[in-house]
Symmetry: C2
């Protein structure tokens, strides 16, 4: 732990540790001892999440290192956001095939810039040689009993999603050569794929307003099904609402070359890597949801309704049921 | 987080998650939501440590999976022990090249048996496909202000180490083909290498007794140098005491074929993978140290003295200074 050497002799990996060793402000003890020490505030619960990113599976070899540093923390902060927790600290375990100082400089800059933006301290971790693997464990605080869970959705609740959907998947399809976008459209979509924005402020603003929440990382419908199962309910989703959330489509429409409806649905409903919040709230909370969205400067869109009957029903803009299946897929397989 | 699918479609990896999903008893929320939730007790600090084990670097391909599961948690519990913290919970992030159910069954059994022995709950994590990589982050509780640090050693303090030293390194040398031991001697040494015993009870018993502590993972002298640097002191170590801590040597002596002095010194002073506690205490604490050792059923040996003058001095059984260097090395490189 704490960037100590493993099994001795890894002088180069001591060097790596320096990119990630900074004085702590909130933690009792940061990098440099056997353990880090956190002093939890009275009345809080600690929210903990851990994600491992593997080269060739979660990101392409050669991905911009600054963005990769950002994304490795962003996907963890997104889990905290989904619980309504305030980020506090994180550990980083990093396996690298070799010491590459320009890469480390860029990676740590992207990582620590996002950490600083959220007041989330790097308090320890581990570095070693091995196939590129980034494992972050993040800690957040939430007042006891106020964490947003997946299991609280009730029949009659509204169903919302934050921000945009599907641009990350669209960019991925382009990078895989399955599809082509003009560079002016690809660049912002690729930014969404490689440097997503965790909805941390929105998550906290939704405490005591949302009845259930999770983050959309594997595709809207797949993640929604987790929420429905955990809550023992069903849902009806209006795809005319979700399709409107593809930012690339808005821009493509302005150029007079909109994307095909099926591609838009595939990307928005089963895209993955969106890192938006999917949440439910009672209809009486609509003003409160709007206020939370405004307070956190994050767009939210009502996309459907929670129903007592289990299962997921999709409707088009005419209110007709859509029977097509939109399965998630494994991006990098 | 929480064994959710990454990027969809990883049905096999959903299956993996089942090996690691168990109901929690102490945590507020365990596996299955975006975050786990811990409710820290009043007046405690949370000790946190993270270690990443990579196949081919920290363990051989083909290592017994039950022992590997044990070791992956043991090395983290050893960090908690060095702080005097009581284990509470851990997260596991696991990258596997393929789903191998017998391997998973054995790995999870070894992992969870050690977890249960220490009341340390698995509260979440991540599974994904990739080169074999095990990343555990462990959480422990320590009364505020009572954590054992590396920085508290003072001139005049006694220097102690727990248990045995060097058997893991000796086993490794045999497995690498550098050396041969009779099977009856190799087996217990290999057990020490592959399934070390974290000194959790001793660490807690030493709170308010030890002045400084860390765990010996990279070799005694290398780790001692970290403690000395953090405390701004030096030390004199009696190698006749440390050499006596090689359990294999005791057994070899009984067969009439003791090991060479130099090999014993190399393994005990710069072995690595010992996971013993190295700690200091004022001479007035000798009875208290002994009582802590007895209460935790863990042997401790006084091996030297902390001195004001920086640096590390080695003595032989005649009180002569040893000038040879015992550097750690990188085991699997």
């Amino acid at each position: 732990m704490h960037y100590k050497r493993h099994n001795g002799g890894m002088g180069e990996f001591d060097l790596i540790a320096r990119y990630f060793t900074r004085p702590v402000r909130r933690a009792v003890l940061g990098v440099g001892d056997d353990c880090a020490l956190l002093q939890p505030r009275a009345g809080i619960q600690l929210a903990i999440s851990s994600d491992m990113l593997v080269e060739g599976r979660h990101f392409f070899a050669g991905t911009d290192a600054y963005r990769l540093g950002h994304k490795a923390l962003a996907v963890n902060l997104s889990d905290l956001a989904a619980c309504g927790a305030q980020p506090v600290a994180f550990t980083l375990a990093l396996a690298l095939p070799r010491v590459d100082e320009p890469w480390l400089q860029a990676f740590s800059s992207g990582l620590l810039a996002l950490a600083d933006a959220h007041g989330c301290e790097l308090i320890g971790g581990d570095t070693t040689q091995g196939p590129l693997n980034i494992c972050i464990t993040v800690f957040g605080e939430v007042p006891a009993g106020q964490a947003l869970l997946r299991s609280g959705a009730r029949a009659g609740d509204d169903l919302y999603v934050s921000g945009h959907l599907g641009d990350a998947r669209l960019a991925l399809e382009c990078l895989l050569g399955h599809f082509a976008l003009p560079p002016a459209l690809l660049a912002p979509a690729q930014q969404r794929l490689e440097a997503p924005t965790p909805r941390v402020a929105l998550g906290q603003a939704l405490r005591s307003i949302a009845s259930a929440a999770l983050d959309v990382s594997d595709g809207l419908l797949g993640d929604l099904s987790h929420l429905l199962r955990a809550s023992g309910v069903g849902a009806c989703v209006d795809t005319s609402c979700t399709s409107a959330l593809l930012a690339t489509q808005v821009a493509a429409g302005q150029t007079g070359q909109p994307l095909e409806t099926e591609r838009v649905r595939q990307c928005t409903l089963a895209g993955g890597d969106d890192y938006e919040l999917l949440f439910t709230a009672a209809p009486g909370q609509r003003h409160a949801v709007l206020a939370a969205a405004q307070a956190s400067a994050t767009a939210v869109t009502r996309i459907g309704t929670i129903e007592a009957s289990p299962g997921l029903r999709l409707m088009d803009s005419q209110g007709q049921t859509i029977t097509a299946r939109y399965a998630s897929f494994d991006h990098f397989a």
